[in-house]
Symmetry: C2
Subunit: 208 residues, 2 copies
């Protein structure tokens, strides 16, 4: 498990983002429509032919495997395929994580694609988001790779679909272990709490 | 939080599934291609116009909100929008959960859309899948609605992308609380373990 790709020039990274991010947003919107449509059989068959034609065009030039994590020449990580923050992953909300050094947070909106109980966020989606955000806090904003050791999640009540906020911070660091906490809140308060232990892997313990 | 929609006739449910499931699979394949494509700006712009046109056609006739959980007249739950098992949710792998009464399990394949560390499953995706599968075990195959109270997840090592298996079972039941356990395994053994407490909600405690 290594991050070995050649770094991408920062201007080229900006060009790629301008090209792919709006397209990914269009596919994200399609996911929502795919779940909610009541279109009839003929319309769905036509839509399927269109989608398959687009996919074939996209696949004519594609990387061999998954996206991985690429870096720019300025050292910024491009986790563009990530299922939580990836600007090229249509299944990511995506979270745009902000940080003041001590805490990191994101405000986001979850719709039909993230539903478990009717009108509520799937409990596992809350776990996915908290795992990611606690990991970001533990990795000091992505500067040090970390892996989740353990995470415990407590559901105080159902989390409604719609506008939400998540926040995470490190409680303490003990050698290679960082102890992080975090919450998801709706407009009336906290709905889910998480505690996690994150580990810095051997190969990342020396400065890059 | 209620399951109040009128039940769907079983034949109509089969017709809907035949119509929407292959289309959803096509959108799922598009998600993978969206992450991995290296197509140029003109091709991406053309692809975006095609996708937006399809989305507009789908949205011309759609339900007002998220999918929810519908039931057939035979009492089968149709969690078709669910992000883990939903046959109409392109972000779901989807898991096809089997059960022998005591245990439930699923074999599935995770690709680029589920990647965290390079070539490995995002820790939060493992949490999403385990939360769902432990919940299925605790709800006796979906017959009793349950909500996650707490879940603790332990990562033994990285989970590689590719062919995986997840399994869950109930360890014990104590009143309205079910204690469930589960694991994710790759070809060489267990990569992630989970323990969860699931709660039967008040409104579901009397027989339907």
């Amino acid at each position: 498990m290594q991050f070995t790709d050649e770094p991408v020039d920062a201007d080229e990274a900006r060009r790629q983002r301008a090209r792919y991010e709006p397209f990914t947003e269009a596919v994200r919107d399609l996911i929502d429509a795919t779940i909610r449509t009541q279109a009839g059989a003929a319309d769905i068959a036509a839509a399927q032919r269109s989608i398959e034609a687009v996919t074939a065009r996209l696949r004519a030039t594609q990387i061999d495997g998954p996206y991985g994590v690429q870096f720019t020449t300025e050292g910024d990580g491009m986790s563009w395929g990530n299922p939580v923050i990836g600007v090229r992953n249509p299944m990511a909300p995506p979270l745009r994580v902000e940080s003041d050094g001590a805490r990191c947070w994101a405000e986001f909106d979850l719709g039909a694609a993230y539903e478990g109980p009717p009108n509520h966020v799937h409990g596992g989606v809350s776990a996915l988001i908290l795992d990611h955000l606690l990991g970001e806090a533990a990795s000091a904003g992505g500067n040090t790779p970390v892996f989740t050791g353990t995470i415990s999640i407590k559901y105080l009540r159902g989390t409604p679909l719609g506008a939400l906020r998540a926040e995470a911070w490190v409680e303490r660091v003990d050698g290679i272990k960082s102890y992080a906490r975090g919450v998801i809140s709706d407009i009336t308060g906290i709905t889910v709490e998480a505690d996690g232990v994150f580990i810095t892997p051997q190969w990342a313990r020396d400065p890059r």
